[in-house]
């Protein structure tokens, strides 16, 4: 087994024991990147030299007898909408093709403080708008399980890199499912934390009230380790919640005895593939066998989730993305005479179609005369949906649903049908709307061999319960399947 194939937890122990060095691990991951990325296209920017330097620093510290945190020396891939000081951060947009932040996001500061190694920046849908990573200005990322298919999105690069072994773990961001949906499609674990659990400082905003940074891992424990490293209050983010944080990874234990798991029937209805329903219900049965109690229940407003989501998210995006005007940084058109023309041409040339679509939609719903009919009603729906979640959590400890209605589709298959694309998020957006935590984890394959994911949703700040349930399931099925073989053409099925 190559080093890149191991879990972060195992690698951390191996380094701690002196069995391997961080340098060797970093070399192994870069060999994997060099072997797979020409086909997977997960990375937008690589920094091998810097990464090896970081790894050497870890080895030096370890040799000097210092006790290091669990992520020390672990290569962590970073979604390209998280600002990294001195390292290009593009949001996969032409608009920021040359943007090098002079500051680190808080999560990056925390990773550096843990001596994590950053191999590079990962592809995504432009400004995190999309569900297939196809709206990236630079490249299309392939699903490591089938290179002709999309990895999901918007954190497609992060999911694909972790699935392919070109990163041990990775950070993504989730506004409407952007961590969980690609995690599901790539057969890895992805956690969307409670809104306010992880600092958003340095995350280039898409929809400020919905965005959260979260981890990807090939095991639940790895996702927990990365979550532990980045979560916690931050004085730089007013929406981060002041609370005491205890690390989850060391407390994971395989037990679901007495756990009440709700199954909201709205998540198993129209549009959800049979194989997906079956896989999720099989997983439910496994958990029941292990002592959990299954409770069928209802979340009646679920059907309004997508509408509310696309109004709120687009409204905030239209404002958040207004700063990209060609005045200060990033792309500026060469064709203009007046200030107006500079704005128009810069934004016309710098943004892709999907981003423009959402800016137009968001500008419209906030416009005078339409605000009450759209934005205000969407915010009311948000309250309604949140109340429904709060009330079902009086009957159960967490919810089990499919993560996505269907498995990975072909590259290019849906890029021209935005509504079809938006429907990928039907099971994930309600979680963001209510600010809840949710984790997606693999629960089988469809008849094409493509990964199916299930989603566990919990009350606010129930990450420990969610990850523990996910961990229990992982142990019950004897661990998740190994990563896809991806050596040259052989990798493609």
């Amino acid at each position: 087994m190559e080093l890149y194939e191991y879990s972060a937890a195992k690698l951390s122990a191996m380094m701690e024991q002196g069995e391997i060095s961080a340098h060797e691990l970093c070399e192994s991951v870069f060999r994997r990147i060099e072997g797979t990325d020409p086909e997977v296209h997960a990375y937008l920017t690589l920094q091998k030299e810097e990464a090896l330097k970081q790894a050497d620093e870890v080895d030096k510290l370890r040799r000097s007898g210092e006790s290091l945190p669990p992520l020390a020396g672990i290569p962590v891939g970073i979604k390209d909408n998280i600002c990294t000081k001195g390292l290009r951060t593009t949001c996969a947009s032409r608009m920021l093709h040359n943007f090098v932040p002079p500051y680190d996001a808080t999560v990056i500061k925390k990773l550096r403080a843990q001596y994590a190694v950053i191999p590079g920046k990962l592809n995504m849908d432009e400004f995190a708008m999309g569900s297939s990573t196809e709206t990236s200005y630079f490249q299309k990322t392939a699903n490591p399980h089938d290179l002709t298919r999309i990895p999901g999105g918007s954190s497609g690069g992060s999911a694909a890199a972790v699935a392919a072994g070109s990163a041990v773990v990775a950070l993504g961001s989730d506004t409407g499912g952007s961590i969980r949906q690609p995690a599901s499609l790539c057969g890895v674990v992805g956690l969307k934390p409670t809104y306010g659990a992880v600092s958003r400082f340095g995350l280039v905003a898409f929809a400020s009230s919905l965005d959260q940074i979260g981890p990807f891992g090939r095991t639940v424990e790895d996702a927990a380790l990365l979550y532990d490293a980045v979560c916690g209050p931050d004085s730089m983010d007013a929406t981060s919640v002041r609370r005491d944080v205890t690390p989850i990874a060391p407390q994971l234990h395989a037990s679901v005895k007495g756990l009440k798991i709700g199954l909201p029937h709205e998540y198993f209805e129209e549009g959800v593939e049979e194989s997906t329903k079956k896989a999720v219900m099989n997983a439910a049965a496994e958990l029941e066998k292990a002592g959990a109690k299954l409770i069928p229940l209802s979340l009646p407003s679920t059907g309004y989730g997508l509408s509310a989501y696309y109004i709120i998210a687009s409204a905030e995006a239209s404002s958040n993305l207004a700063r990209f005007d060609g005045v200060k940084y990033g792309y500026r058109t060469e064709h203009f005479e007046t200030l107006e023309q500079m704005y128009e041409n810069t934004r016309s040339e710098g943004f892709g179609d999907e981003v423009k679509r959402r800016i137009l939609l968001g500008t419209f719903v906030l416009s005078s005369g339409y605000y009450d009919a759209y934005y205000k009603r969407a915010k009311m729906l948000q309250q309604q949906m949140t109340r429904e979640f709060v009330s079902v959590f009086e009957q159960c400890d967490l919810l089990l649903t499919p993560t996505t209605p269907y498995t990975a589709f072909k590259l290019g298959e849906r890029i021209d049908d935005p509504l079809m694309m938006y429907r990928c998020d039907v099971c994930t957006v309600p979680v963001n709307i209510a600010g809840l935590p949710a984790v997606s984890l693999p629960c089988g394959r469809d008849d094409r061999g493509l990964p199916i994911g299930m989603q566990l949703i919990g009350p606010h700040f129930s990450e420990a319960r969610l990850l523990n349930t996910a961990y229990s399931y992982e142990k019950l099925i004897g661990g998740f399947p190994p990563m896809p073989r991806l050596a040259g053409k052989e990798g493609a099925k």
Binding site: L203, V204, S235, A238, T239, R323, V327, Y329, S368
Partner: protein, 476 residues
């Protein structure tokens, strides 16, 4: 303004607060420093950065709310006002839209000796934008971000003013309160206080007319000119049978004219919505109450009281209250009960103020005490010393802790009020100035002044002029 018309004026005042740091980041809040030296990724709106609210800004705004008798919204929010302009790096300004921090207040102003209550619609907090620098030396336009994120409060009045004089009095009152609370530097020349002016006109007895807003009014005297210009412009249009269209105009003070900026149809849609990066502002009752402490008597209230209690003119009261130290000195000296109030004011707004202006120093740099001032005023009023001698005394007591009596003694300034002694001098003057005596007797009464002057010369300025005048008339 043309007879038969009435004007209606409402004002929006933007005042920069003097907090140490900016409203949403820890950058220094300072004016006049090197271009782009007081900014960071947050106030420059770089991608991924987030605002965090400086609670001092809220405190200052609540204080102003208390001073203007507002109700304080203990739960309120911040909103985004979206528009593109190169001096606005995020392309939105964080402001407050439908729930301001303070609303429903008023302020008492004084015009022509009469008090009037002007309604204050709201006070909200917001961030300032940067500054565009246009120049030939570098070509084109550059942006200075130092001012980005400087905290502002916007104070919006009701349309309660009916003349430019009332508007001026309102502006002066607000400025005095801001200074009294020490929450703004109120430096016009640095743009730390600016206003937008809303004006409409209507025929007396008819409903209000359509209003026009004027931007870019940077001085209070400019506001007066802008209001008068605008009212006359509107009346002229109405007289010509035209109607007023609601529009925003730019005031050009150097030309004394306003120019159309945009009409109602082109009004910008700012697409306000709640700022998702900031939490709802929730203030405890204790915090709101504690901010009432130390507000003390407001300058406009003090002015009204001085006018009523000491029978001062509005002009004198204004001059005293403008510099609280002067009013303090006045009230302390008046409290001694020796000198008359209007005599004390005369010294303070006259010679003492001249000293302050000439030296540029505050009153606290001078040694003069209420007792000295009271004694000085009394000595002059009672005729113990002449007013010229009084000035000589002032020259000393401004700098030295000596009693007025001691100074009079030391300098030999006591006035000669001995009738016998003065009579001799009067007779001598009459003898030596035959021509003037004849002039006076021939009806040229102003010759008397000359004769008094001659008497004064002979007494080396110490003769009591009133007495000498009486004696001269007696012998003429």
């Amino acid at each position: 303004m043309k007879q038969g018309y009435e004007m209606v004026v409402g004002l929006e005042i933007h005042a920069e607060l003097n907090t140490d740091s900016k409203i949403y980041c820890s950058c220094h809040n300072a004016f006049g420093l090197e271009v782009n030296s007081q900014c960071c990724p947050i106030c420059m709106g770089m991608p991924g950065t987030l605002p965090t609210l400086n609670s001092r800004v809220v405190d200052s705004a609540v204080k102003m709310g208390h001073a203007l008798h507002c109700s304080i919204n203990r739960i309120c929010k911040q909103d985004r006002k979206n528009y593109f302009y190169p001096d606005l790096p995020k392309a939105y300004q964080i402001s407050q839209f439908d729930v301001p921090l303070c609303e429903h207040g008023y302020v008492n102003i004084m015009v022509d000796g009469k008090q009037k209550k002007i309604g204050v619609t709201r006070i909200h907090i917001e961030e300032d934008a940067g500054k565009l620098l246009h120049g030939d030396s570098f070509g084109g336009t550059l942006v200075d971000f130092n001012r980005c994120g400087v905290p502002l409060i916007e104070i919006v009045s009701e349309p309660d003013m009916r003349s430019s004089a009332e508007a001026k009095a309102y502006l002066d009152a607000i400025k005095a309160i801001l200074q009294h609370l020490d929450i703004s530097d109120c430096k016009m020349q640095e743009g730390s206080i600016r206003c937008d002016v809303n004006v409409s006109v209507h025929k007396e007895g008819e409903p209000f007319g359509t209003r026009c807003e004027m931007k870019n009014v940077n001085t209070f005297s400019g506001a007066v000119r802008a209001i008068e210009y605008e009212a006359n412009r509107q009346i002229e249009l109405l007289e010509q049978g035209e109607s007023i269209s609601q529009e925003t105009r730019r005031w050009d003070d150097s030309q004394g004219k306003s120019f159309l900026l945009r009409s109602k149809e082109d009004a910008q849609d700012y697409r306000y919505f709640p700022e998702p990066d900031l939490l709802t502002i929730v203030l405890s009752e204790e915090r709101v109450e504690s901010l009432k402490e130390g507000i003390g008597e407001l300058p406009n209230d003090r002015m009204a009281r001085l006018m009523w209690e000491y029978r001062l003119s509005q002009g004198d009261a204004t001059l005293l209250v403008e510099v609280p130290e002067k009013a303090d000195l006045f009230e302390a000296a008046a409290a001694i009960g020796k000198a008359k109030a209007d005599e004390l004011v005369k010294w303070i707004v006259g010679d003492i103020s001249k000293y302050l202006n000439d030296t540029g120093k505050p009153l606290s740099d001078f040694a003069i005490t209420p007792v000295q001032l009271s004694d000085l005023a009394e000595a002059v009023t009672s005729g113990k010393i002449s007013s010229t001698a009084g000035k000589t005394v002032l020259d000393v007591i401004l700098f030295e802790d000596k009693s007025v009596e001691a100074v009079i003694e030391e300098k030999g300034l006591a006035q000669i009020s001995d009738t016998g002694a003065l009579e001799e001098i009067v007779l001598e003057v009459l003898k030596n100035n035959e021509k003037s005596v004849q002039d006076y007797r021939g009806g040229k009464t102003n010759a008397l002044g000359y004769l008094v002057g001659q008497c004064m010369r002979l007494t080396k300025g110490k003769g009591n002029p009133t007495l000498m005048k009486e004696l001269l008339i007696k012998h003429l």
